[in-house]
Symmetry: C2
Subunit: 324 residues, 2 copies
């Protein structure tokens, strides 16, 4: 399986690491919109090319994995490249998924290619677990908790505050609420009752910590609805203690059957590296995209549409013998 990666940020490097571990995939090239000569990748002997090379549709790729951002990159990129290659993305702007799906579907169908959108863990593995649980236990409710983990969007928002040199923001589930859900109490939870936020901030010389803290805590959408803690640290501490991108969380579904039997289904992730795990999910679904396309399928898909066996390089016989 010849894999192309477009975009070499954290996620692109995560996909690269996953390709290295797989028995059946090889990295064909990394594509960048910047100057290819300025980019060194971790896999030896693999070319870095300009994204412009992709436009002719002539690159020798089985699947192109799109590692751009959901805000502006993927809404353009995924439909465009789905018209040329089998593609996968991790589009995560929930409200715009129907529109994105329609755009990718039209382009991929026209080209006879498969495009799988919104892969990763949320959307992705968490979505699958919400769906499986709801399909099995229609009378029930799902709860999703994120963290403890680094939210890059929130870290970026704090970095934009004047006087802030660097920030790492952790999203933390409120353990008391998680336990209530696990006990099947079906609580109504406000935004504040579900998660707290913790910021580690490096200040610019001369910045006023009280002012920065106030600005963080009152920032609408990002922080004002949460209990937020702010810690000021040195650049050395940031580098030493906060260089990773851990994340995780839980989907907890509680449902009832019969005369009030209660069932709790929980799927949880504890990830040392959010981008490496997400990259590994993308690669597994790339396998499915190729296989579907080889069977003659075309158009857009999501994780909901993929039979789990398609994620594995093992045969049906092997899966039934060892995993069932």
């Amino acid at each position: 399986m010849k894999i192309g990666i477009l975009g070499y940020g954290n996620l692109g490097r995560g996909v690269e690491a996953a390709v290295k571990q797989s028995g059946d995939a090889a990295l064909a090239a990394v594509y960048t919109r910047r100057d290819p000569a300025a980019l060194t990748i971790r896999t030896e002997g693999v070319p870095v090319k300009s994204a412009a090379e992709l436009e002719k549709g002539s690159e020798d790729l089985d699947v192109l994995i799109l590692c751009g951002g959901s805000a502006t990159d993927l809404p353009e990129m995924t439909p465009k490249y789905a018209g040329l290659y089998n593609v996968i993305d991790s589009f995560d702007t929930h409200a715009r998924i129907p529109e994105h799906f329609a755009n990718v579907d039209a382009a991929a169908k026209k080209a006879g290619k498969v495009g799988i959108i919104s892969c990763g863990w949320d959307p992705g593995m968490f979505s699958l677990n919400r769906l499986y649980a709801k399909a099995i236990l229609p009378e029930g409710q799902d709860y999703t908790f994120w963290g403890r983990g680094v939210s890059q969007g929130h870290s970026d928002a704090v970095r934009r505050i004047s006087g802030v040199k660097d920030c790492r923001q952790y999203t933390i589930p409120v353990e008391e609420s998680v336990e209530k859900v696990r006990r099947g109490e079906n609580p109504e939870l406000t935004v504040r009752q579900k998660h707290t936020r913790e910021c580690f901030v490096v200040l610019e010389d001369g910045a006023d910590p009280a002012k920065v803290e106030e600005e963080i805590k009152t920032m609408p959408n990002y922080f004002s609805d949460y209990d937020t803690t702010v810690h000021f640290i040195s650049e050395e501490e940031m580098k030493r203690d906060h260089s990773g991108l851990p994340h995780g969380g839980s989907v907890i579904y509680t449902g009832t059957t019969g005369e009030g039997s209660r069932h709790v289904v929980e799927y949880s992730l504890k990830l040392d590296s959010n981008p490496e795990f997400t990259g590994a999910v993308l690669l597994a679904f790339a396998r499915a995209a190729l296989r579907l396309n080889q069977e003659g399928a075309s158009g857009a898909r999501t994780v909901f549409d993929i039979a789990p066996a398609y994620l594995s390089h093992l045969s049906g016989e092997e899966l039934r013998a060892h995993y069932l």
Copy 2:
């Protein structure tokens, strides 16, 4: 979706309860190999029929859910009825799955029907989680813990001991081992280190408790490899404290990516009623069997072969908008 249930034990009643909760299924009939006149079911207005009625293939059913035992019933039943109807079973004799799959596949293909085998939670939802995790993180290891829950096979084994009137056997995961796995230590665990067994036993009048306890604890395969605790209780206590069939467990997968980033994926179930949850899983996959067959598919399938969207009565648009 017109559902038939063959076999009205705990699992058959679990499927019946699931049908009652579903928005899109109706119970057409319950079939029994005993005298239909002697059986009263919980759903009013639904006929109880002899299993012999099924043999003509003329019953008006979309899917027949087979609620027999794996030891002797299902190896005969599932291929037989897959030649007449779309069928689902919960066949759980792992070693015989390949043979069972082949038999059902041949019969179902010949008849143009779909047969989904080995549905439930293990095999079933646990299998899916082993597969998803392994496909995403090829360098890793899965652990399955069962319990705390009633093992019907072990309860039956104790009931066959002379002097035992009744028994309920609980399988209990060793919490220390579960925690080691959760911490990503990848321990090598013996049978004894994974689970303990706890038996609640009602004795016949005059039976010797010491002798019964000894016989339980030394029983090969069932108990001799485990640390087992035996409690003698009264019939009233049995009825009051042990009338349910709770179960559950966890699939924990630990894998690494990149330069040693560690990821822990855990899927866990806490079920008040094992047969009601299993019945609910069977009904969700019955929906998939019907839909696959309506699309022209035939032959045997397992949970690995079913796109998750097929378990839901919601449309692709609704799923993408609300569950992704």
